[in-house]
């Protein structure tokens, strides 16, 4: 009985074992298609305020016509400062802040670069919690943040008239929302002379125009390395904007995408599915390129448990909402954060937005990246199984691990090299170094088919594991890196070298960067952005490329280009 039972089990096991590779393909297809299912009705949910204390929009906001003349005055002041040297700007801003009653200090980055910040001590608090308002001098696109600074100054004056604050207010005026802001946030947690306790929330004001009107607000929320602010913070801003009948967009809206589409697709633009999908994809893209491409400012707060978003106004010269509406949205959001009794924790930390009012949570979207990571593991296992079934007597798994370790050490050395000597020359040398594996494989002494297969299997299983861990930290990066490198899993020892060579070229990370660079700022710019983003903002993407994607490419190149020992190859057939 027991024996026949195990015979059935063995037969079933054999049936599955023969098809593990097929299962890997299925997992890959499921993972690739998963995101396209999410915008279908029933797959996503409506956002809702989870933390009852927030009460968004319930407090009357008074930043209205009575503040108009102050705002105009500050606009004049900002206009006067716009062409002045940085030192004079810093001095004027700190004079204004200290005259308004703020404890003001200047943090010097470099001799001609400084961040002014001022703290308004909470009238009803114990100075252990604070809310930060950031008004960068230029915004993420390098535009002069004219109204952002003027509204910031007007709000700084206006907010001190209230006695409701239970959290201190910190106004920060960095030269840019990128490296300077990051340095200020790091310094706040280490060395700044005046402090106001833990930062409960941060808003970056972005209104790069002197036009009084704006048509909508746009919310950027991705943090570095896959971190996101609590969904309640975004919901609060969206709710307050709704009360002010102001449209909201997520991550730059859809205009850019729509303009790029050919005109015969116009009917698609109005379909709900397409709109939700494009916002979803732009959320994924924003998470992948966060800290690399356009730094909106909220990224700089990642790593200290601070929930931060950037609120950008979309200026318009037509008759529409005026600047004070923007100020009221900031005021309302501050009142809501001020209500919090404990740190943001109620709502989701893992989510993707499909529109300002719709989201998917981690349980719904994570299977996409997980099944791709699973495909790597399954394919790796299938390589091992085929090797075990061939009946080779002794395991060469230690040799396989040794090769994997050597390749990892090589790519790690390349990574250290690129980080230590950050220059255009190094960026151009990297592809040559990484291609060294191909002559090595061609001139190495022939290896058995089973060993090569096993080396590939080890690399695939390790990549699958690394992708799984990465997917829990940065879903989008794991998804994109997994998808792009997934064809590498189908390479085999002894495959036609021409075909393998073309596939390897197309899937090489540096070739892809070169290709992307042709349409953007060029290859060396991309590599230097990766390196500087690690140095200035601690963005891991370059590490992931060099320690996850490149090693897998190197191993796949090695096994597909290596000479296969003939008799071992026959054994397989």
């Amino acid at each position: 009985m027991a024996v026949s039972g195990s015979r059935v089990k063995t037969a079933l096991f054999g049936f599955i074992v023969k098809r593990v590779s097929f299962l890997a393909v299925i997992a890959l297809v499921v993972g690739a298609c998963w995101l396209f299912v999410l915008p279908l009705p029933g797959q996503f949910r409506n956002t809702y305020i989870s933390e009852n204390a927030l009460l968004p929009g319930q407090a009357q906001a008074y930043f209205r016509s009575s503040e108009w003349h102050y705002l105009r005055g500050y606009k004049e002041e900002v206009r006067r400062l716009s062409d002045k040297p940085a030192s004079e700007v810093v001095e004027s801003l700190s004079t204004i802040l200290s005259e308004q009653g703020y404890y003001t200090d200047v943090y010097h980055h470099e001799p001609d670069k400084a961040t002014v910040y001022g703290i308004f001590r909470a009238p009803r608090g114990d100075n252990t919690e604070a809310i930060v308002l950031v008004c960068p001098w230029t915004n993420g696109n390098g535009l002069f943040n004219f109204n952002g600074i003027a509204i910031g100054l007007a709000l700084a004056r206006y907010l001190t008239k209230w006695s409701v604050w239970s959290k201190s207010l910190i106004f920060v005026f960095p030269p840019d929302p990128h490296k300077s802001l990051r340095e200020w946030v790091a310094a706040y947690h280490r060395s700044l002379p005046i402090q106001a306790g833990s930062i409960e929330g941060a808003l970056v004001l972005d209104y790069p125009s002197d036009l009084s009107g704006f048509s909508a607000i746009d919310i950027s929320y991705t943090g570095l390395n896959g971190q996101l602010p609590n969904l309640d913070l975004i919901n609060t801003v969206v709710t307050i904007a709704d009360f002010n009948s102001l449209p909201t967009f997520i991550h730059g809206g859809l205009d850019k995408l729509f303009n790029a589409l050919p005109s015969f697709l116009n009917p698609l633009k109005s379909s709900a599915y397409f709109q939700l999908l494009s916002t979803l994809l732009s959320s994924v893209a924003a998470q992948v390129t966060s800290g690399l491409n356009r730094v909106a400012g909220c990224e700089s707060f990642s790593g200290w448990r601070i929930d931060a978003i950037t609120i950008s106004a979309i200026p318009t010269s037509e008759l529409s909402h005026d600047e004070t509406v923007y100020g009221r949205i900031i005021e309302g959001t501050l009142r809501s954060i001020n209500n919090l009794l404990e740190h943001f924790h109620q709502s989701f930390f893992f989510y993707l937005l499909l529109s300002p009012h719709h989201f998917v949570s981690i349980g719904t979207y994570l299977p996409a990246a997980m099944s791709i990571a699973g495909a790597f593991t399954l394919q790796g296992i299938s390589k091992w199984i085929s090797y075990i079934q061939n009946g080779s007597s002794r395991s060469s798994i230690l040799k396989a691990f040794f090769v994997e370790a050597a390749i990892l050490a090589f790519t790690f050395a390349l990574l250290s090299f690129s980080l230590l000597f950050d220059s255009q020359l190094v960026a151009q040398m990297l592809p040559t170094f990484c291609a060294c594996i191909i002559p090595t494989a061609l001139y190495a002494s022939p290896m058995s088919y089973a060993l090569l297969n096993e080396i590939h299997g080890v690399a695939l299983v390790l990549s699958g594991m690394a992708l799984t861990a990465l997917a829990t930290l940065n879903f989008s990066l794991a998804l994109v890196v997994g998808l792009i490198s997934s064809p590498l899993m189908f390479l085999k020892p002894g495959i036609n070298r021409m075909h393998a060579g073309i596939l390897l070229l197309v899937l090489n990370p540096f070739f892809i960067f070169y290709f992307v660079g042709m349409f953007t700022n060029g290859y060396t710019y991309i590599i230097n952005t990766f390196v500087s983003s690690w140095r200035d903002m601690q963005v891991w993407t370059w590490i992931i490329v060099m320690c996850l994607w490149l090693p897998l490419w190197e191993v796949s190149a090695f096994i597909s280009m290596a000479n296969v020992r003939e008799e071992a190859k026959k054994e397989v057939k």
């Binding site: 971190q227 740190h343 924790h345 893992f350 091992w384 799984t468 829990t472």
Partner: protein, 387 residues
Amino acid sequence: MKWFAIIAALVGIRFLLFLYCKQLLAVLENNVAISTPLTSYQYLLEGLFYYSRNLEIYNGGIYHQSPILLYVMNLLDATGYIDLLSYMLWITLDVVSALALASMDDFRPLTAVIYLANPFTIASLLARSTLIFTSTAILMSLATAKRRRAVLAMTFLAVATHFSLYPAALLPPVMYMSVGSRLSLYSFAKTFFVFVAATSTCMALSYAIAGSWHFLKFYKVSLLFQELKPNIGIWWYFFVEMFDFFMPFFLSVFNLHVFIYSLPLTIRLRHDPLFAAVTVLGLHAMFKPYPSIGDISLYLSLLPLYSRIYTQLKYAWVALLALAYASILTPTFYHLWIVLGSGNANFFYAITLTYVIAMTTIISDTLWAVLRLQFDDGASSKQVIQT
């Protein structure tokens, strides 16, 4: 010669990592999967601070380890090179463990290499977890018991028990191993007496060092789970939200669980009591209150002694992959929970359950394989594979 070079290289790597990767050491020392409140090197240094200033060691609520360790560390501290010397002591113990393991396997060098090359062993060593005193004593006890040196085996087991209490569960298999088939009331009484005498000696030494009986508190911390900190075990999550009036009941159940398997396993595996001891160690790596990956590495390092069962294992790859996934996701989820604040305790707990699943699979699989070999030498399973 080749093996000697490999072992020398593995020891050399340990020195290089110690000399040039201080940051890595600090990260590992603070890792919850490696250092528990009962084995942490930082807590040991804290205890040493108290001890060297003649303060009451066990009142601070920080130090929960044996006073004997403090005495040894104090000796090292007196030379002024405590960092280097303690690290050399740890490496020596690691090598002794590897030799003890190899001696159980007819001095097959591969067994020692597998122990020394295990990443769990290396991580535990770099973090200078004081668990190594327990595990070396256990391995020495098993090695001597296998050679029927009952007095030595019992002494080492008493030392291990002194350091972390739970090795007491190894008493039945080790006793059975060291007396062998000549089990009589007299031999039983004799070996048990040695164990009691050695334990009393350790206690007396501890009393002499600590100057009072307060040191017994550190057993209480373990038995009553008084340091409620996350680790890779299954206790902490359970006791976090326990109502006070349920505590005595569940504490007894959980403690009973650690000890209860020992005797039945020894009786069932009396043809091979060493394997009973190995299985008990595997169960401890899951069920004791403060397990760490050092416990898992101790258990996994003993399995190569049973390389003959490898052909009978059914889920070896599944279990090893689960273990590998768990060990890469443990630091990730801890980071999400404690550092980023975006995850929560459930994330980390889910991973400790994965550890338990992997360990359960390995334990039941190996147990099945050993019993299978005992039953018909694996004859019928060979037949199935052929068809």
